[in-house]
Symmetry: C2
């Protein structure tokens, strides 16, 4: 589309849930989109492996094909929406589209997190946009907030509830008092969790999203391989009950911290105050909290997945492209990672042991006299002070859970102490540690 | 500034709290602003009534003047930041600046809410931007979210905690169990409330902001005079205690609803669930919840006022202008009220009596046998059913508070019923009614 033209022609790769949502939105909202974007957004072509299948929506005038090149090279396509997901063939198709001078909008977090640095370079070289609001936190406009609304701020911390499956599981465990396995099975039955849930419950999906947020917020290259990832499979109903009793919620957080010029990137279960904004985020919802040096804390909340919320974000990117072209602006108006690629520099990543904070600890100990004395002596030796300690249940000479909350300490110190505690004869199994974020207001 | 130029020259009108914040931000963040905007943002001139006063920040190379025209017509000014506040002379100065071809960024909610329709037209006629992210909810990027990120959605409801002073007072009343007057006095002492607090506690400040949000969200002209405004001065500690007991929080909400093609605009104290996201917003913080038809509910949270948060929003608008010019885009890329002025049409405003919802009621009644029977008979006559009823305290033949929560009913019906209840011999004083928003999840 050239400036002065009246239609932005959209092609879609992949006709699953999100593709269907985008097709529906372009059709159902055509009037307001034309009004707000200043040009019509016209769906011209869809590539899918099953072009013959009926999706239950009218597609008059839309070419359905199983040939992706028909979209990535189509004369009737100005913008390609990559809604296939995964790394391959998504990457090569996006490269084809950019190479053909098509703008690209994608909902693909894996692709951006793992291959984004090269793709962004390619987009710039071809004077094309490569927008990915839908890749992170669904309908929540967190990419635009970081890239544009907070552009005058140095971002010091990002904390996100970035995976709806995990948040749903943790919420259900608390509300219904059920164990992890049972809630996971129910989530699978309801379609909130995949048959193989590893990608979600293992924290990898959240890590993809955190990669993207950290890059834009901190002005660093996409650094997926630098994230320490821990999932929620080890969270027990004992942890949930105890955290609740103490006024906490357990959330799987993606955390990007800037400390003393170093960057820390983690995905992990975290205790946050129940009466904090992040603590109030329940069920499948996502939220991202961002601390800017001038803005102070801001938080963004909404649905992180699903046909319609994801389509809302994809279409917002299409409107952005349409408005830019309509106003005669060159592509690349807004640097895709907040700052120009040439200005991004890899930071020093902070050693995990350097983290300074409070910890929740759960041990399995034999209920015998002396066990507490042995443990507290080791904590004292490592200079770690205890905020609270509770032995749950009473069962002489049997294993019972012992739960503790510490004051702030260096993580390396804490781990060294736990390694010694685990060697005590009355301590069974490995210690389970969850970090506490005290300031998640 | 022309495309290809390397500096966006900024003039400021008004050197109070916000003006100081913007000046500091342009200086302290100069490096990241240049990197992210693609051009330098250079503060060239400030007009203030007291140009000689020392503000404690270095202003080398900045012209300080008491002549506003030096800024609105300055050869060294590309963008004018109007940070004076109020209607006059702010309006005429903004008109001067636009007339001189300067872009304008303003933090002035009263100006946009009450005079914005004409100013937006003038900006368009002069091919200038007139951005006002800072006018509503401080650092929270709610204007951009509505205008850009949710552009593909029909917005059906906006609910905002838009006045930090009111939210601070209501939070303190609950947390400390103190009466309104005492908390207000403390807020005045701390500088959170003005000596004459009417503008905040009367709901007028929130109404200005709701005007702006409703216009952009619904695609209607700015309609300040259509808002029904009720403040918080009538909220008693009895209300707060009772709401808390029932699992609610009382918040001053700005509410824009679209119902059956009609639009309802209200600012009023409202009961929301304590465990909802809006219910979790405490102290001076603001939040806006928006329901789009595809996005579902989204919520935006942060500091609604203050030197640095407001400056963050002003500077984001400056970066937007800089990026647009740098990329060669014409002004007016994004319609200021979401859709082009010509497409905005005044809606039918819904009659307040048509509201259908649940209500919290507080009466002062004489503690004598029969009073409850009389009241419940009238509720039955008007087909209003009671969810809960509590007489607080016991004091035979004296006045005591009677508190009720109803099920859903038409507001006109509720008010007719209350008018009859108020005529009962054992009922003293006027009934106090607070609406309940059940779905503020």
């Amino acid at each position: 589309m050239e400036s002065g033209m009246q239609t932005l022609r959209v092609g879609i790769l992949g006709f699953g849930t999100v593709g269907r949502g985008v097709a529906r939105m372009l059709r159902d909202q055509a009037d307001i989109l034309q009004q707000r974007a200043g040009v019509a957004l016209q769906l011209t072509a869809i590539a899918t492996r099953t072009p013959g299948r009926d999706r239950g929506i009218p597609l008059d005038g839309v070419t359905l094909t199983d040939d992706a090149a028909r979209v990535t090279a189509g004369d009737d396509v100005d913008v390609v929406c990559e809604l296939i997901g995964g790394l391959d063939p998504a990457e090569s198709l996006v490269r084809d589209a950019l190479g053909n001078g098509k703008h690209v909008v994608t909902a693909n977090k894996a692709l951006i997190a793992e291959r984004g640095n090269g793709l962004i370079e390619l987009a710039a070289a071809n004077n094309c946009e490569l927008l990915f609001e839908a890749s992170t936190a669904g309908a929540i406009p967190i990419i635009k907030a970081l890239r544009e609304s907070l552009a005058g701020n140095r971002i010091n911390r990002i904390q996100g509830i970035l995976n709806g499956t995990c948040n749903y599981i943790l919420t259900e465990m608390r509300e219904k008092g059920l164990p992890y396995e049972q809630v996971l099975a129910e989530a699978q039955r309801l379609g909130y969790a995949e048959a193989d849930p590893t990608f979600d419950v293992g924290g990898f999906d959240a890590a993809h999203k955190l990669t993207i947020l950290a890059a834009i917020g901190f002005g660093i290259p996409l650094s997926y391989d630098k994230i320490q990832v821990e999932g929620i499979a080890e969270i027990s109903d004992v942890d949930i009950a105890w955290a609740t009793e103490m006024g906490y919620r357990i959330k799987l957080l993606g955390i990007a911290n800037r400390v003393d010029g170093e960057v820390e990137l983690r995905v992990q279960p975290t205790l946050v105050a129940a009466n904090s904004m992040l603590g109030a985020v329940e069920g499948v919802f996502n939220a991202v909290r961002v601390e800017g040096d001038f803005s102070g804390p801001t938080l963004y909340y909404g649905r992180g997945a699903g046909e319609e919320p994801t389509a809302s974000a994809v279409v917002a990117d299409l409107v952005d492209i349409a408005r830019n072209i309509k106003s005669g602006g060159a592509a690349g108006r807004t640097p895709l990672l907040g700052a120009p690629l040439a200005d991004l520099s890899a930071p020093v990543f902070r050693s995990p042991g350097e983290h300074f904070g409070a910890y929740y600890l759960r041990l399995s100990v034999i209920d015998k006299p002396g066990v507490l004395a042995d443990i507290t002596a080791l904590l004292k030796k490592h200079d770690i002070s205890i905020d609270a300690l509770v032995q749950r249940g009473r069962s002489p000479n049997e294993a019972v859970p012992l739960v503790m909350v510490t004051h702030e300490a260096r993580e390396a110190q804490m781990l060294a102490c736990l390694a010694e505690i685990e060697q005590l004869p009355l301590v069974e199994s490995k210690a389970h540690m969850i970090r506490i974020e005290e300031d998640a207001a």
